[in-house]
Amino acid sequence: MQYFWLIPVISFIAFIITSLIGNKILKQAWIFPMLAIVLGLGIYCFGLTEYLQSRFDLEHCFRSSVTGMVGCNYSVEWFTAGVRGADSVNSFLGFTVDPLSLSVAGLAIFVALMVQIYSIGYMKDDPRFAWYYSVQALFISSMILLALSDNFLLLYVAWELVGLCSYLLIGFWYEKPEAKEAAKKAFTVTRLGDVGLLIGILLIWIEVGSFNMSDLFTQVGSGEIASWTIFSISGLLFLGAMGKSAQFPFHVWLPDAMEGPTPVSALIHAATMVAAGVYLVARAYPLFVQSEAMMIIVSCVGLITAIGAALICCVSVDLKRALAYSTISHLGLMMLSLGAFGYTAAILHLLAHGFSKALLFLGSGNIMHSIDDLNINRMGGLKSVLPATTILFCIGALSLAGIPLLSGFWSKDEVIVSIVHNRNIVFAISSMVLVFLSGFYMIRLIIVPFFGSPNRDYSHAHKLPFVMLAPMGVLAVVVVLFGWIALYMPGAPASFGTFLFYSHPKNFHLEPDIAIITLVITLLSFGFGYLIYVKRFSIFQNMRIKARLIIEIVENKYYIDELYQILVDKLVLPAAGLVALFDRILVNDVGINGPGYVTRTVGSIIRHHITGRIYVYLALMTTGMIVLGIIWLGIVIL
């Protein structure tokens, strides 16, 4: 475990090598990043085994009194600023290995490996193939750093670096105006959230005097920090999490981020980076649980995001954007779960969703690769053209819809259980609605593109290379087995709930009544989808016409993008223009040029008395003397 720092470092070296010489070995540019990640996976597996076997007797490992989990910490000093010993700030390069970081790092490494293998086929004709792989390597490096860091400063560093990679990869095809705008939007929007995160970190330092997470949690646990401070710090951190995890009202960047290459969407914008916000809330959970108000806010934001995005997903015709809204919806569900004290459930769902959604995105990549189109209404009947993709896509989709035995079923069930147990009836009913919606949009995304009659000519469809299908197959196996393994794997850890938990381990078990209810709702939504998209019942067509207005609002994403655009165009930019004008006209032309002008004008007026004529000088002199005399007399007399 003490070698975990090598994982980001190796990938970073791969990034540097590939950036420098990538274009010379263009077609083989994947070698170094891939080598780095395979090595990383090796180190990770080695460390994981070590952790599982001997976490209780290693020197750097101890059980946290707050979370109850065993964490192993390793750190070296990074820099000190200020006067040493007196008024200074010390920062450390430190990492922590505990179940949470192991889970998220494991997800990142595994999905990244699959995506990188897949990309060999998907990106092979791209002129910037080398650049693609070098940014991927940088991303892995920073994502692992994000998962492992044991202090908030280092976490922020990694947080911004993954944002940079996201920016670079969304704008990968930067000649396209949409891509460059989407990249700009993604970075700017998340950066706004990061303002909150950074201020939160500053406040933590003021309160605790260090950036170290466990220092903070110890102080929070001992009740030394005022509840108002806890509320504001957690709220500020949550702002950052909302930006990264695309929670309402910061969600607008994620659908546009689909302009990037599809494997990137699978890795960064579905499985790993967008989950960083959820990870942050889970990381800072000891802080969040101390503030009941904050937990309610987290739940509400999660719920609003989940339902709002799920509705959009039901009407979106672009396959990747639909999947993006589904991602937003599931991230909202994780937040909701965290807010409802479903800590383990949220992380389990994070993992299950990560695997499944990566699979779905790679599936949509296959479609993109073979027919170069993403509009689901122009597909139909793909199952005969892409049979393997159809099966793999269905596994991912059914998993997220919550069909038993697939991983999404187990995690979703746990999430619903925690919501029903810890939140009121409104949340419970809303989460059932959510189950219905996610079942419905998933069946729609299965039926419309893959089944039914073809809406286009597929004779020019490209064949899929094995290198693209193989990693999807591996992912699909994981999607099928993961929930089962996590909950019922024999031996240690007995179940995910005894491995990763907050404050006390809990044994996961299926709650039959809730499982049955959700299953019935899901099947109902499937039936509903079947009637609409296969049977095409006219009653639904009529409903569609009657509810035109509502559907239009949803299709236009509630006009939130337009609202922001108006805000920027009508408020921010004119204000900036006004400031610039103020600067030029008032500050410069009046404030700076003004004195110069006055000096020159006064000079050119008073120089007229310099005439060169003696009698004028004599007259002025005499006048002056008389005036002075009068003044003198006045002073003497008075």
Partner: protein
């Protein structure tokens, strides 16, 4: 014989600070009397000189012993002691060590990049070296009189450098001629230095009246600790220093000389202007104002902090709506120097270390930006971001480095700007939550205009009129890659600079 050469080395070692200042100034003098050579040979000669000064500045920086601390490489020669006690004194402190390094780097870059100067080559390099030598002098002086002398020596060449070798631009609704830019810069800076001079004379007179006339920092500092300067006196004089030095750092509302100066100045001069000249002001506030007049500093720092945060936000918002590359970077400098000012205004060691690190970081970053903007302007003959587009296709090298500089500017971790700004935030939040919040917001605003700039000019479809422009030449490549490497090195390993800065800040803190 061995002993002799040892003592010679020792001798040389001790006067290294003097050599650093004297070399460029002497070279400038020699250039003036040299027979008329071609511009290219003056360029070559001054490049060699600046390579040597760069070497010396690296040497001084590396040799500064952080364990001993204090003032090292001291060198004092009495100059006028008829009851006035002016001496030519030099010395290297923890803060000036990194500032000297900054000037060594930027001066070398500015020389190398100016190879295309054809017009009156000799005069250009004479002035450039005078400027560089003056800046070294300011950072190394340990006597107020010579501090001011070098200060003027550094500022005055700017006028000619801009007025003769600059460029005039028509912005449609208004024009900015190089004469206007040069004149304004000079008028504003000279007015500011009058304030500084008044402050220095006031300090001297105060010491004279108490029978201990002196200009030397150490002596003044000792007198100040003994309570020679009353609070009222300190309040007045510090205000003079704050405004006077502040103007040179682009203090709002006296900042407009800076963007207009950039727009008119040639590339090498812009680099020195934003890279080191604007740092002199902040250096003066920190190294002289706070140390000699700590009580005055405590009185005025709230005001400086408010003005500084106005700089940050106002500069960033102004940059958002500019259309000229140099104006964007000019206002960006105004914004970033605001961080330096609020960092200094915290009067705590973290904030001041952050301010000094920000001075270094911003100096390198903005020099890099001006190299690249100059290169773009040189090829495309325009700086209008509505005309330039898709440049990365034709100038990949320039554009990639521009993106790196841009991300350093918006405070991306891993590049030097982040650590500097972060330390300043930490220093500020100890004083005021809301100022810190605004400062963090300012960094987000930076992202808005930097990304807008990148999206407009660097990426996107390329215009046919721009599609056959050449990429960077060898000198631009060397300079830009070197500057970018410094940004990365300091960003990844800030202890490189912070170790010596901390020592310097400790000295300052002990005065408070």
């Amino acid at each position: 014989m061995v002993g002799d050469s040892d003592s010679l080395m020792n001798e040389l070692y001790n006067i290294m600070a003097f050599v650093l200042i004297a070399l460029p100034l002497m070279a400038a003098l020699v250039f003036m009397v040299l027979p008329n050579l071609t511009s290219k040979s003056y360029w070559l000669l001054s490049s060699i000189i600046s390579v040597i000064t760069f070497g010396i500045s690296v040497f001084l920086f590396m040799s500064y012993d952080t364990l001993t601390g204090g003032t090292q490489f001291s060198f004092t020669v009495p100059w006028l002691d008829q009851g006035i006690n002016i001496s030519f004194g030099l010395g290297l402190t923890g803060i000036s060590a990194s500032m000297v390094l900054l000037n060594g780097i930027v001066l070398l870059g500015a020389c190398l990049i100016s190879g295309d100067i054809e017009k009156r080559g000799r005069d250009f390099y004479v002035l450039l070296l005078t400027l560089g030598g003056g800046v070294f002098g300011v950072f190394l002086s340990s006597d107020l009189f010579f501090f001011f002398l070098f200060y003027e020596l550094a500022v005055l060449p700017m006028y000619l450098l801009i007025a003769v070798w600059g460029s005039s631009t028509d912005f449609g609704s208004f024009t900015r001629s190089k004469e206007y830019g040069a004149m304004k810069l000079m008028m504003v800076l000279v007015a500011a230095s009058v304030l500084i001079w008044v402050g220095i004379i006031a300090i001297f007179v105060e010491t004279y009246l108490h029978g201990t006339p002196t200009f030397a920092f150490e002596e003044l500092r000792r007198l100040s600790e003994n309570g020679l300067f009353s609070v009222e006196f300190q309040n007045w004089v510090f205000l003079c220093f704050m405004i006077g030095f502040g103007v040179l750092s682009g203090l709002w509302p006296f900042h407009t000389w800076s963007p207009d100066g950039h727009v008119a100045a040639p590339t090498g001069v812009s680099m020195l202007h934003a890279g080191v000249l604007m740092k002199l002001g902040a250096f003066g506030i920190i190294q002289i104002g706070i140390v000699i007049l700590p009580l005055g500093a405590q009185t005025w720092m709230p005001l400086l902090m408010v003005l500084g945060i106005v700089n940050v936000i106002y500069g960033a918002v102004s940059a958002m709506s500019q259309t000229d590359l140099k104006y964007i970077i000019g206002y960006s400098s105004v914004s970033h120097m605001g961080y330096v000012l609020i960092g200094a205004a915290t009067l705590n060691s973290i904030g001041i270390s952050g301010a000094v690190l920000q001075m270094f970081s911003h100096g390198i970053m903005t020099a890099l930006m001006f190299v690249l903007v100059g290169a773009i302007y040189h090829r495309a003959h325009t700086r209008d971001i509505y005309v330039l587009n898709g440049l990365i296709k034709t100038m990949p090298h320039i554009c990639v480095l521009f993106i790196i500089a841009g991300f350093a500017s918006l405070g991306l971790p891993g590049l030097s700007g982040f650590i500097a700004e972060f330390l300043i935030f930490l220093g500020v939040i100890k004083i005021s939550f809301w100022i810190a919040a605004l400062a963090v917001l300012g960094a987000a605003l930076t992202a808005v205009y930097i990304l807008r700039l990148i999206a407009r000019t660097i990426v996107g479809p390329v215009d046919s009129s721009l599609s056959d422009l050449p990429d960077a030449n060898i000198y631009e490549k060397i300079v830009s890659v070197a500057l970018a490497s410094v940004l990365v090195a300091v960003g990844v390993w800030p202890a490189l600079l912070l170790d010596s800065i901390n020592v310097g800040v400790a000295t300052i803190m002990s005065a408070l």
